[in-house]
């Protein structure tokens, strides 16, 4: 008889579980409050009001106006809209885009698509700590630059990029230009929302991508912040939803869920603003640090990828010499522990991670990494279990390899 093993989840950067509070708020909209938010009858208006409330919540979190929030299907759609929409709207002003080598594939692939259509893209390098230099952004800016897109937090190594500083730089560069908001500044904040200040004015961004399923909300919903006056074309054409910026029936349960997820984050940050501490983030950071320190201490020839300080509270990314990441993932999985590999090997490509390569890691080191991301529901006992299993698994794989 096979015993069902308890599963422990360490892949919060891939997706988070739905918070039970979020789920409760969503439920009526999957049930009797099903009406189309664009319908004029009172049932439809009930849905429209729920969307309105979610939009207000998110606008409050971003410190922007409600009509600057556009609901989408997720961060991938947001980023595609930004790249294709801005390049289309701004093509008469220039053809140059600046981004980094460590962006999410939905950004890099959108860039490739635009390169085929005559746009020039500068892919900024990062230091070995996984952080882009503001001076490199400055050097790359030209009179033809229409868009600068830099992620807030890297999804693989968790490094925090200096968005506010780049925002200031772009503002000063702009004062030389006659075109309003030129170039446009975008950040993909999908991995940042849980942990960092997303005030769009403090950051100085014109566009920001958010995702629902990384913040204990549902999958299939996201939000794009578009500062008023930003030149951008829609990706989806059709009905007049979202002021024509994103056609398609509003995903009411998803939007309500995303609003509720942001509300939960606001509660913790509000306590912080009132002089209290953000207990959730403090706890996660404590567990994360414990995990990093114990791994580096107990497993010889292990190395942390990405800056130790400029790092989001929930991310651990480590390489083990003489171990390939996917085989380690499989062994951990066999023990009921879900992590992710830094290498894209498991997801259909045999190329080493573009992020770790950009950090200057060799291909073998890049293949030898795993990403452990924790979150709201991670317990201290989970960390202990992981450490014990990890130690054994690394040892086992080193016996098989010629390490």
């Amino acid at each position: 008889m096979s015993k069902i093993k308890e599963q422990i989840y360490f892949d919060y950067a891939a997706t988070t579980p739905i918070d039970p509070r979020v789920k409760r708020v969503m439920e009526p909209y999957l049930d009797d409050k099903f009406a189309n938010a664009s319908s004029v009858h009172s049932m439809g208006q009930d849905s429209a009001n729920a969307v309105l409330k979610a939009r207000d919540t998110i606008a409050g979190f971003l410190n922007c106006k409600a009509n600057e929030v556009v609901f989408t299907s997720g961060a991938t759609e947001c980023n595609n809209t930004v790249f294709k929409g801005v390049s289309e709207a701004m093509k008469e002003y220039g053809n140059h885009i600046i981004t980094t080598k460590i962006e999410h594939p939905c950004v890099l692939e959108s860039c490739k698509y635009l390169e085929k259509r005559g746009f020039k893209v500068t892919y900024l390098p990062v230091g070995s700590n996984g952080v882009v230099k503001v001076s490199d952004v400055e050097k790359a800016l030209t009179k033809k630059t229409i868009l600068v897109s830099i992620m807030y937090v890297n999804n693989e190594v968790g490094t925090i990029q200096p968005i506010a500083d780049i925002g200031k730089l772009i503002k000063s560069f702009r004062s030389l230009s006659s075109v309003p908001r030129f170039p446009i500044f975008h950040t993909d904040a999908a991995q940042a929302v849980n942990y960092l200040d997303c005030d769009v004015d403090k950051l100085g961004v014109d566009l920001m991508s958010l995702s629902g399923h990384k913040i204990y909300g549902p999958k299939g919903v996201g939000a794009l912040y578009i500062r008023k006056g930003t030149l951008i074309e829609p990706l989806m054409h059709g009905g007049r939803q979202e002021d024509g910026m994103r056609a398609g029936t509003l995903n009411t349960p998803g939007i309500v869920g995303m609003g509720s997820a942001i509300q939960e984050i606001k509660k913790t940050t509000l306590r912080q603003a009132q002089g209290g501490e953000n207990q959730e983030n403090k706890r996660i950071k404590f567990l994360r640090d414990e995990l990093i320190n114990k791994i580096l201490k107990t497993i010889p020839n292990s190395k942390l990828n990405g800056d130790k300080k400029l790092r989001v509270a929930n991310n651990v990314n480590v390489s083990f010499k003489g171990v390939e990441g996917e085989s380690l993932l499989m062994l951990l999985d066999g023990e009921g522990i879900a992590v992710s590999t830094g290498s894209a090997c498991a997801s259909g490509s045999i190329k080493p991670s573009h992020v770790l390569m950009a950090l200057g890691r060799g291909p073998l080191e890049s293949h030898g990494s795993i990403r452990i991301t924790i979150g709201r529901f991670t317990k201290e006992s989970d960390i202990k279990k992981l450490l014990a299993v990890l130690l054994k698994a690394v040892k086992r794989l080193r016996e098989i390899s010629f390490f």
């Binding site: 003489g322 171990v323 390939e324 990441g325 996917e326 085989s327 499989m330 062994l331 066999g334 290498s343 090997c345 498991a346 259909g348 490509s349 045999i350 190329k351 080493p352 060799g362 291909p363 073998l364 890049s366 293949h367 030898g368 016996e399 098989i400 390899s401 010629f402 390490f403």
Partner: protein, 137 residues
Amino acid sequence: MYSKKLMKYFKKPKNVGKIKNADAVGEAGNPLCGDIMHMYIKIKKSTKNDWLKKHIIEDAKFETLGCGAAIAMSDRVIELIKGKTIGEAEKLTPDDVAKGFDLPKQKIHCSVLGIEALKNAIIDYECKYSDIKQDPA
């Protein structure tokens, strides 16, 4: 992602290790793919002329740095060549190694890894014992 058979070979490989005084060593792989295999073979030599038919692989072991499929395929190729003559082993193809394992498409190259290591081991054997090549067939 992986079949039960593959997981069995990956989790409990039976032929891991080095062979001291191996008659031949073969390496294969590419750091970019993240898979590198070392193969060690011990050969029972014969005084007979026809080395392809008469020299037998009596023991073989491997060490592999790689993904689950690479480790499973390494173990499988060793299993297949043990007890075979050099000539028989030389005829093995990646398909023979992967047969029955239901390899995911992006992992087909892992079945090539073992065969490449084997080919390199055989070349190593030929070089070390160049006299065997000069035997009239």
